[in-house]
Amino acid sequence: MNDRQILTRDLLVLFSLTGWGLSLPYFGSDFMVSMGLTCLMYIALSSSWGLFCGNTRYLSLATSAFFGIGAYTCALQLEQLGWAATIALGAGVAAAVAVVMGAAVLHLRGTYFAVLTFGMTELIRHAVTYYEKSVTGTVGRVLTVVPERDTIYLTVLCLAVITVGLSMWVRRTRLGLALVGIGADEQRAQTLGVDTRWVKLLGFAMTAAVAGAVGAAMSVRWTYIDPHTVFNPFIGFQTVLIALIGGAMTLWGPLIAAVVFSLLAETLRLQAPQVYMMSLGLLLILCVLYLPAGLASLRWDTWKIWRDDIRAWWKERRREWTGEKERDKRRAREQRLV
């Protein structure tokens, strides 16, 4: 399939999914809409995470920070500004924080970067808690005037579609190539003329903007937000998990994984809640070990390769247990004769 065909296919899939998503509030029950909302939230979060972190291999754990910033912006400004303006503001503030954070830390790599982003998230959380407590004398914020559930749903749907669309578009521009190049070998990209600093900042800011917007939108569902709930590191962890298992570098991987995991979470929660978390962990380990490029890289060939791998391993084991001893002995005997 050439590039044109792939683009057409992607756009078609996106449009059909959007259409399906739009119709859900009308024929679906309240519960299905809520499920859809969670799915869409994670689709947006993990797709945007994958866009930057998957391609450049800078593992960011700061999603929770941006989500929380968006939520707080919404809580503080919803009364004054309208709904759309608040979401945009949430995205903007988060992106601004990302630029500041990024300027300070994006020159480090690998584990340092991951650990640092995590530390920054916690720092922001404690700073917000302390500020709220000392200066404003409260700990959380109550959102009293909230928009309709359908408005929230449509907003998050919109965000998810924008994110996936953005992902599709960026891939086809020089920015996307630059991101992949940085992931492959940063120094080489620099020698080839890529301004890595700006590219990284831009990518990081994009991720943050989406997370901030989603945070702003979701905060109204909970009526009362406090730093502990909206800066919960689990949001960041789950985003990373979903993106990685789905295939961080691919376009549809995070989306597929987000849907699968939301459904899995709901089913397992009703039967055995800890089993969901345990299976999440186990699945991640298995994925990293045996399927590093994620679920989206699963092809028909992959099964064949696995089957052949297992056969080879079993053959090796059998040789070891039965034949190798003989051969070793023979070799040793021959050596002695020589």
């Binding site: 029950s29 309240d30 808690t129 407590k133 004398g137 409260t138 009703l270």
Partner: protein, 401 residues
């Protein structure tokens, strides 16, 4: 014994006839036996599990068990079995919201019971209103919930103002002149601290130290040491169970022995007695409003809880939770399953429960006064106000053992 085909045939016909006639009665029987569907979510995993599994879920299970053993919930004379539809909310607000939307919106259960904790209750309170299901919440504590003025939402637990007023009254009556306070960096800690300061105004009691700390802190001894240096008459901690135990242990360690030692949540839990040992817990005060001696009903409830759920109820929220269930049972018996009627019944009458009279003003329970409890001889007694006391207050706690 040979029975010819005729006999078999006749037997079959008779059996068929009996079955057919039974079936004609069956719809009537089955309609009577249609269960009452009661939905809720509870934290079975995650950080809220400790509190939820001590104060709330065991009560729900005990209630269903007791009612079903008596033939079912009495709904205006007709008894119907209770069917609990519950799931784990993983201590996650989004899951709570989603599940209650499902229970009330699509499943349309007959009744709902509340989740645990202020955060979750904040999230479901507007839902209760939207769907028109009355909620009686035993573990929600916040002035702001009351201020939201939601007609379908009722808070059973005494709110910060009444608890702190009671505490300060108790201080005044026992000649306390100075007090030190620590509080957790959370809505609970902040609201109680604010109410405490307001209550102290004009009493002449000197607040020598007030420090906040983040939940889950591992070491409070620097703070406790500086409090010890100031030597106050009383120590007040607005703390959560792990911090309550930590503060108690570290006070013992550094020798902080004020006359009055008060730590809020957690002191009422049986866990406190187990970890501190009964001798160690002696004299410690905390937020508690009932025990087995409060009323004969309370004793019966205590024993039933212990027998059925294999653990003791806690001496604060558990009592409020059971009282709420008693109110619901009485409401349904009186007015049936019409949710608006239940809501009106709850809002407009005075209810007799195991912890005394409960009356609602708006969302707040104004029937139960603020109380103070104290560990004495291995039991958490109510010691203030005198009208509700189950034992005499001991204003001089001996040194930690």
């Amino acid at each position: 014994m040979s029975q010819g085909p005729d006999f078999k045939q006749r037997r079959r016909v008779i059996q068929g006839a009996v079955a057919a006639s039974a079936l004609s009665f069956a719809p009537g029987l089955m309609a009577q036996a249609a269960p009452v569907r009661v939905g809720y979510t509870m934290s079975r995993t995650g950080p809220w599990t400790g509190g939820a599994q001590v104060s709330q879920e065991p009560n729900f299970l005990l209630w269903a068990e007791q009612q079903n053993a008596a033939g079912g919930l009495d709904i205006r004379g007709v008894k119907r079995r209770i069917e609990l539809i519950s799931s784990d909310d993983r201590s996650d607000v989004e899951t709570v919201v989603r599940t209650y939307e499902k229970l009330m919106g699509s499943d349309k259960v007959d009744m709902v019971l509340p989740p645990w904790g202020s955060n979750a209750n904040f999230a479901v309170a507007p839902l209760a209103n939207r769907f028109g299901y009355p909620f009686l919440a035993p573990t929600a504590l916040s002035r702001r919930l009351v201020e939201m003025k939601l007609p379908f939402f009722f808070l059973l637990l005494q709110q910060p103002k009444s608890m702190c007023d009671a505490l300060v009254d108790m201080f005044k009556a026992n000649g306390v002149r100075s007090v030190a306070c620590i509080y957790v960096d959370d809505l609970f800690g902040l609201e109680n601290y604010a109410a405490f300061k307001v209550a102290l105004q004009g009493t002449g009691i000197n607040l020598v130290e007030d420090k906040s700390y983040p939940g889950g802190v591992k070491d409070l001894s620097p703070v406790l040491r500086s409090i010890k240096d100031k030597n106050p008459d009383a120590f007040v901690g607005f703390t959560y169970p792990p911090d309550t135990i930590l503060a108690s242990r570290q006070s013992k360690e550094i020798g902080l022995n004020p006359k009055i030692f008060y730590a809020s949540v957690g002191t009422a839990f049986p866990l406190y007695k187990n970890v501190m040992t009964p001798a160690g817990a002696e004299g410690v005060m905390g937020m508690g409003s009932w025990n087995g001696k409060t009323s004969p009903g309370a004793k019966a409830y205590f024993d039933a809880h212990l027998a059925s759920q294999k653990k003791e109820p806690d001496r604060w929220a558990s009592g409020a939770c059971w009282a709420g269930l008693e109110i619901l049972t009485a409401a349904v018996k009186q007015v049936g399953l019409d949710r608006k009627a239940i809501r009106d019944y709850v809002a407009n009458s005075t209810h007799k429960t195991i912890i005394g009279d409960i009356r609602f003003q708006g969302s707040e329970n104004v029937g139960t006064p603020g109380t103070v409890g104290q560990w004495q001889n291995g039991e958490f007694e109510v010691v203030w106000p005198a009208a509700r006391a189950t034992a005499k207050l001991n204003p001089n706690k001996s040194a930690w053992k």
